[in-house]
């Protein structure tokens, strides 16, 4: 099992969501994040124009079975890329164990619904 965390542009969220759905990913969580780094974006408040390095992005967190890692990553990259600076990043890490609270199932089968 892997955790895939992706930082993407908010404007690309709908496309990424659709791509993940098309790839068969059933469930993920996301939240809005603010990043702080060397890059800046112009901001205007009451006529004052200044450079702000607080940048808004959206983070997706997806736990998948090992067999689904590649198609998930491909779906995100395919949908989120514009080619400009600031398209985002994807992080992949191991998940040690998963428990389904309702049934007590463990391991990869706790991640998806059996037909």
């Amino acid at each position: 099992m892997k955790k895939i965390e992706a930082v993407i542009r908010k404007s690309k969220f709908e496309e990424v969501k659709q791509a993940l759905y098309d790839a068969g990913i059933e469930w993920f969580s996301y939240w809005d994040i603010t990043g702080l780094g060397k890059s800046t974006e112009g901001q205007v408040v009451r006529g004052q124009i200044f450079q702000s390095n607080y940048i808004q992005r959206r983070m997706l967190s997806i736990i998948v079975r090992d067999i689904n890692v590649e198609k998930t990553i491909n779906a995100i990259i395919g949908a989120a890329r514009t080619g400009d600076t600031g398209d985002g990043k994807i992080f992949v890490s191991d998940i040690e164990q998963t428990y389904r609270i309702r049934t007590g199932e463990t391991g990869p089968e706790a991640l998806y619904n059996k037909e």
């Binding site: 205007v44 408040v45 009451r46 006529g47 004052q48 124009i49 200044f50």
Partner: protein, 453 residues
């Protein structure tokens, strides 16, 4: 209708006292006037809470929004009490001797001796009433007191914009009470009391350009300078936390301002209708001007910008509302918006002072622009007795400049002294830790956007 010269003669002899004109006609309460001023009084309350509270509340960061709302709310409570205890008497009472032009006395403390059938002794720049039925008003005295109470409430609330996000609540409260007592009441007396020296000189301030906006604006810049910058102020604006609140607040200010300006003639008549019209047009013009400036200079028309522009227009038309027509309103709207834009966008960052929400940049500067333009654009077409420099009365412009200068000097020096006193006795500046954590948590033990369902 009395002629302009006769009215000026009346003016200069100071024959506005109740007794001297009581024989002209028997004044009585006018139900239409009274109904409108009751309504206008409620509209002005709406300007402070929630109008100004939301406007300022949206502009600060989320950790300080409750502090700003609380400051507006407690000012409403405390200054209303101060007003009936002695504030009204000090502002509008008549003292004897050399103090008479400068401050009232305590005769009306706790509204002593004012009955519910008494008529309002003031009419504020309302020449029609003078011409038709004498100097005495057509609304109950008690209603005038409450109408003026709302002005006394909003004035210190405007100053909040300069020192927000970094002041101790206790120090703020004491400062505000002292400021109302020692700065607001005398200046209101100068300009609006029939004994006041600026009133006698003929200074025009229909609804509070000098008394409210310049007074508060100068106090704001003094407080911003004395208190110092917010610890994380980097020389440019800190983005607002909730622009939706800013819009609601600005819209409620605009709405309430109809009571502020159209009520200040203390009657429901043509002058009130004119005040309403010019108020609306000046606000609209200034809002549009600011949006266009934003569009050309910052590439996009911003929402905070158009709200700021509208407020600047409302501020500037305040002293002029009873003296200019639609042309004056259009000119005032454009001019004030451009000047305030330059102040806020260029001068403030250049000079580096931290007027957090531009209480000086919008209310102080806007008030000065309005007061001076009143001296230029006042037209006899609105009130025959009053004309400005553009209509050949250069003296009016000089008088306006004196009124602006005197208010600036008194408010500036007075605020400086009150800051020193409060700082010494109680302390005003929040600690670095309080500022970093936020004033909501540290001053009130609450947070605006809680994590609980």
């Amino acid at each position: 209708m009395i002629s302009a010269t006769a009215l000026l003669a009346l003016f200069s002899t100071g024959a506005f006292a109740q007794s001297s004109v009581a024989t002209v006609a028997t004044p009585c309460v006018d139900s239409g006037d009274t109904a409108w001023i009751i309504m206008a009084t409620a509209l002005i309350l709406l300007m402070t809470i929630p109008g100004l509270a939301l406007f300022y509340g949206g502009l600060v960061r989320r950790k300080n929004v409750l502090n700003v709302l609380m400051q507006c709310f407690i000012i409403t409570a405390v200054i209303s009490i101060e007003w009936v205890v002695c504030g009204y008497s000090l502002a509008f009472g008549s003292s004897k001797g050399f103090l008479a032009p400068f401050i009232g006395n305590f005769d009306w403390a706790f509204l002593n001796g004012i009955g519910l059938n008494d008529l309002c002794p003031y009419f504020i720049s309302h020449s029609q009433v003078t011409a038709d039925s004498g100097a005495i008003g057509t609304i109950p005295h008690l209603l005038f007191i409450m109408f003026q109470c709302m002005f006394a409430v909003i004035t210190p609330a405007l100053i909040i914009g300069a020192f927000s996000e970094r002041i101790k609540f206790k120090g703020f409260l004491v400062f505000t009470i002292l400021w109302s007592l020692f700065i607001y009441n005398p200046v209101a007396h100068w300009v609006w009391s029939s004994d006041g020296w600026l009133f006698k000189m003929g200074a025009l301030d229909f609804a509070g350009g000098t008394v409210v906006h310049i007074n508060a604006g100068i106090a704001a810049i003094v407080m911003a300078l004395m208190l110092g910058k917010r610890r994380d102020y980097k020389g440019h604006a800190i983005p607002p936390h909730n622009i939706t609140l800013v819009v609601i607040g600005a819209a409620l200010l605009w709405f309430g301002w109809f009571g502020f300006n159209a009520g200040s003639g203390l009657a429901a008549d043509g002058l009130a209708a004119n005040a309403l019209m010019v108020t609306h047009i000046a606000a609209a013009t200034a809002a549009l001007t600011w949006a266009l400036l934003d569009w050309f200079i910052g590439k996009k028309p911003t929402v905070v910008g158009i709200c700021t522009g509208a407020v600047a227009g409302l501020v500037a038309i305040t002293p002029a509302a009873g003296f200019v027509g639609v042309t004056g309103a259009l000119l005032i709207g454009v001019i004030v918006s451009v000047i305030c834009f330059v102040m806020v966008a260029y001068v403030k960052p250049k000079l580096g002072y931290d007027d957090a929400l531009d209480a000086f940049g919008v209310h102080g500067i806007g008030g000065m622009v309005g007061a001076i333009l009143t001296g230029i654009l006042a037209t006899p077409a609105i009130q025959a007795a009053y004309s400005g420099a553009a209509y050949g009365n250069i003296r009016q412009l000089a008088v306006q400049l004196i009124a602006v200068g005197a208010t600036m000097a008194y408010s500036g020096i007075g605020t400086f002294l009150l800051f020193k006193i409060t700082e010494r006795l109680i302390g005003l500046r929040a600690t670095d830790k309080e500022e970093a954590v936020g004033l909501d948590e540290t001053q009130h033990g609450e947070t605006a956007y809680t994590a609980f369902d």
